[in-house]
């Protein structure tokens, strides 16, 4: 049997997705039995131009993690798309824009100003901002330019499968790889996860009617260990998030923050979560409702923790 040609690539990523891929441990041996890794910048010294020279479709499968923030990453996404028969978006950053996507609430100038001019420890009297091209006495130094808006991989090129998570849990990664090894991949377009219903479906906490008079931050109460966190007033994204992770967060007494993305059939995870949160408010009095809503001081960061770029809103409007 000819081996599967596998490529792994990272764009705007924290490296956690690589660690997660390594975390499959001994199973990696099973993988290399059937697959040749043809491109993996973090571990193997294959040059970009070698990939550029490969014929269209010559990579069987590419796992791509990280969001798209620079022209270089966009270029790599497009190139790997054309070289790969199957392009898999791996992890929340690639799938949804991820936590770096929170940057879409601001813009490039605001980010630069904060980093290079305003931060309390910065000593920059001359108000120097890094330049994409800068003349030093010895020559010209260049830096890549980056986009004003973070984008997800599916917004950049068409992808064939999605592996959810920030990072994907080991079992989710393995589910996908096993399907690949056994040539049992589902129809294109699928999100690969053990459970396409909500995280609540994985969660062992007891569920009753949800009605709350107050929202709490996780540190403000010691939650009942058996009961659903949302019922206890802690905003848990489990209701609006695809399962398959096994609900590790609620089992560690912390709410789900939504890293597995929207449940099947929902396009916008954030407003889905928002509607669920609003529906549990136990009041019919507008003033009281306002007061209860004071308990949600950062709706954007709560409902769209990982998914601003992939949402209907995509980015904030900056005047």
């Amino acid at each position: 049997m000819t081996k599967i040609k596998l490529a792994l690539y990272w764009a705007s990523s924290c490296g956690g997705c690589e660690i997660a891929q390594l975390q499959i441990g001994e199973k990696i041996l099973k993988l290399v039995e059937v697959a040749d890794i043809v491109f993996w910048p973090v571990a193997i010294d294959v040059k970009y131009k070698d990939v550029e020279a490969m014929p269209e479709g010559s990579i069987d499968v590419c796992l791509f993690n990280g969001a798209i923030r620079t022209s270089e990453q966009e270029h790599m996404a497009k190139m790997l798309r054309s070289k790969s028969k199957i392009l898999i978006s791996y992890g929340a950053c690639a799938n949804l824009g991820g936590i770096p996507g929170l940057a879409n609430l601001y813009n490039r100038d605001m980010i630069f100003n904060r980093a290079y001019l305003e931060t309390q420890s910065t000593d920059n009297e001359k108000k120097i901002i890094p330049q994409t091209s800068y003349q030093v006495p010895e020559g010209t130094l260049t830096l890549p330019e980056f986009f004003n808006t973070v984008r997800s991989l599916p917004q950049t090129v068409s992808v064939d499968y999605i592996i959810p998570g920030c990072p994907p849990e080991e079992k989710t990664t393995w589910l996908a790889l096993e399907a690949l090894i056994e040539n049992k991949l589902p129809p294109k377009g699928a999100v690969i996860s053990h459970n396409v219903k909500a995280v609540c479906d994985d969660c062992p906490r007891k569920k009753n009617e949800k009605k709350v008079k107050k929202f709490y931050r996780p540190f403000q109460i010691i939650p009942d260990p058996e009961l659903c966190l949302l019922e206890q007033g802690i905003l848990c994204a489990g209701v609006a998030t695809m399962g398959g992770c096994g609900a590790p967060c609620p089992q560690a007494n912390m709410p789900c923050t939504g890293c597995y993305g929207p449940v099947r059939g929902v396009i916008d995870q954030g407003v889905h979560f928002l509607s669920a949160a609003a529906s549990i408010i136990d009041s019919t009095d507008p003033e009281e409702i306002e007061k209860i809503l004071d308990g949600i001081a950062d709706p954007a960061g709560t409902f769209y923790r990982y998914s601003i770029p992939e949402s209907l809103l995509r980015r904030a409007r900056i005047k």
């Binding site: 690589e18 997660a20 910048p41 601001y106």
Partner: protein, 487 residues
């Protein structure tokens, strides 16, 4: 003018590029260590809930999420003026010790160490973990993998998730452990201590017993006399989780000692137009450019710096090695960059011993792990020793705990000026007119930054994700003459 570019530097957890310019004679004119990314965490933290920061900021880096998670959690303790119960602090430190064991192991055997263990002239295909296993034996190779996996298991158990834990809260941690879990941790800790001892033995037989290596370690090309920074406990002993930041001058004398809340009096960051990362320096000495010595505010962090900045280790075996380290290298402080590998192994042993101590602490299974904050949040700083150096998180919030300002001085960043200098110096001592620039020579230049265990995902918290570095060498006409790494 000739120019050498190293881009991207392989086996480095992040993006980076080194540009080396040569003059007409073919000598090094100047070196620039560039980081091409920035992600803007300090900006988009604004408007978020402070208590979401442990989980948001750890996405700066998937290699050391535990460090960000806990620096952030400690900043929240300060922000909410709350003191967590002892068992909670111990659980945090326990998880952190397990993390140190995995991280230092990864660096020594997989990332920075292979060049060093294999020697700079080893053929490229051998300068990696597989080469290391061939050299040290399959058994140790297996132990490397096992140590990493089992300590990751501890992180999962306490932190709730393997990569990107969720357990940190202002005033404590979200989950206690039971006796059965404790026993399992104790077993892993015992094995980890043995593994650390074995690693030091390997180091001793491969490196220290080999004169060529020792000569290279102490050679001037890999030496910088700088200030050093590290976290110490009340007795000035190394501590990764808590304490005060101590800075020693190039002669080893205490220069400053400060609590987290005072960091702005001591550290400032310099901006250069040619890199997205900033260059921290000691405020009281001032930024004098990329130079070492007492008059330059450049300081170093990470394993070597931590040992230099402290008076010793609290665990018995690590203390023995600490003493041996300084007696072998001619007393304190040690300025040799390559000695950082050795220092890292001593820290590995300390982390394993500390893990064992904590796993045997009768308090560790105590379910009293939360103090509920009652005060109004305003401002808080949290400092922790990340494997790659002192990590500072500083938040200012409104009375609801919504972030108004966030400032992060990330571990790797503290070494950015020193890395630039180290590469420049190594290049100057190695690149000579008329001498061919070989792969081995460029690799020797790479060896000047490998010990720092750069994590540019971290350094760029502030454009983009990790991806390894490149060296470019340019001649005096600006033509590219050599290139190492990927393009």
């Amino acid at each position: 003018m000739r120019r050498i570019t190293i881009d991207p530097i392989t086996r480095l957890e992040g993006h980076g590029k080194i540009e080396i310019f040569l003059n007409d004679k073919g000598e090094v004119a100047n070196t620039y260590f560039q980081v091409p990314e920035l992600r803007g965490f300090e900006k988009f933290a604004e408007g978020r809930m402070a208590d979401d920061m442990p989980q948001i900021t750890q996405r700066i880096c998937g290699v050391c999420p535990e460090a960000h998670h806990l620096a952030s959690t400690k900043a929240l303790d300060a922000l909410y003026h709350v003191d967590p119960p002892e068992p909670a602090k111990k659980l945090r430190e326990l998880l952190y010790s397990a993390f140190y064991v995995t991280d230092h192991t990864t660096h020594f055997y997989i990332l920075g160490g292979p060049d060093f263990i294999m020697g700079p002239d080893a053929p490229v295909p051998e300068r990696n973990i597989l080469g290391v296993i061939a050299k040290v034996g399959l058994e140790l190779g297996g132990a490397v993998i096992k140590t990493r996996m089992r300590n990751h298991h501890i992180i999962h158990m306490i932190g709730g998730r393997g990569v990107h834990p969720v357990f940190g809260l202002p005033g404590g941690v979200s989950k206690a452990i039971n006796e059965q879990e404790r026993k399992e941790i104790e077993e892993i800790a015992k094995e980890s201590v043995e593994f650390a001892k074995l690693s030091l033995k390997v180091f001793d037989s491969i490196v220290l017993k080999n004169k060529a290596y020792v000569d290279m370690i102490v050679s001037d090309g890999y030496t910088h006399k700088t200030y050093y920074m590290g976290l110490v406990d009340a007795n000035n002993k190394v501590n990764f989780y808590d304490g005060k930041v101590r800075v020693v001058d190039p002669t080893g004398k205490e220069f400053a000692k400060y609590s987290p809340s005072e960091y702005l009096n001591h550290v400032a960051e310099h901006v250069e137009p040619w890199s997205y990362i900033k260059f921290p320096f000691l405020k009281k000495v001032g930024w004098k450019g990329f130079v070492d010595g007492k008059d330059s505010g450049v300081f170093r962090v990470a394993p070597l710096a931590r040992l230099n900045a402290a008076d010793g280790m609290t665990t018995p075996l690590a203390q023995e090695y600490y003493e041996q380290f300084y007696s072998a290298l001619g007393g304190k402080p040690v300025h040799h960059t390559l000695a950082m590998h050795w220092a890292r192994l001593i820290e590995l042993l300390y982390a394993a011993e500390r893990l064992l101590e904590l796993s045997r602490d009768p308090d560790i299974t105590n379910p009293n792990i939360r103090t509920i904050p009652t005060k109004t949040p305003d401002e808080g700083v949290g400092i922790i020793e990340a494997p790659r150096g002192t990590l500072t998180h500083h938040y200012t919030t409104d009375e609801r705990g919504v972030i108004k300002k966030a400032n992060l001085i990330v571990a790797t960043l503290n070494n950015s000026a020193a890395v630039n200098m180290s590469v420049d110096k190594a290049a100057r001592s190695l690149i000579k007119p008329g001498k061919e620039i070989t792969e081995g020579l460029l690799n020797r230049i790479e060896m000047a930054w490998r010990p720092y265990d750069l994590c540019l995902a971290c350094a760029t918290h502030s454009l983009d994700g990790p991806s390894p570095v490149t060296i470019h060498v340019y001649d005096s006409q600006g033509n590219l003459v050599r290139k190492l790494g990927r393009d």
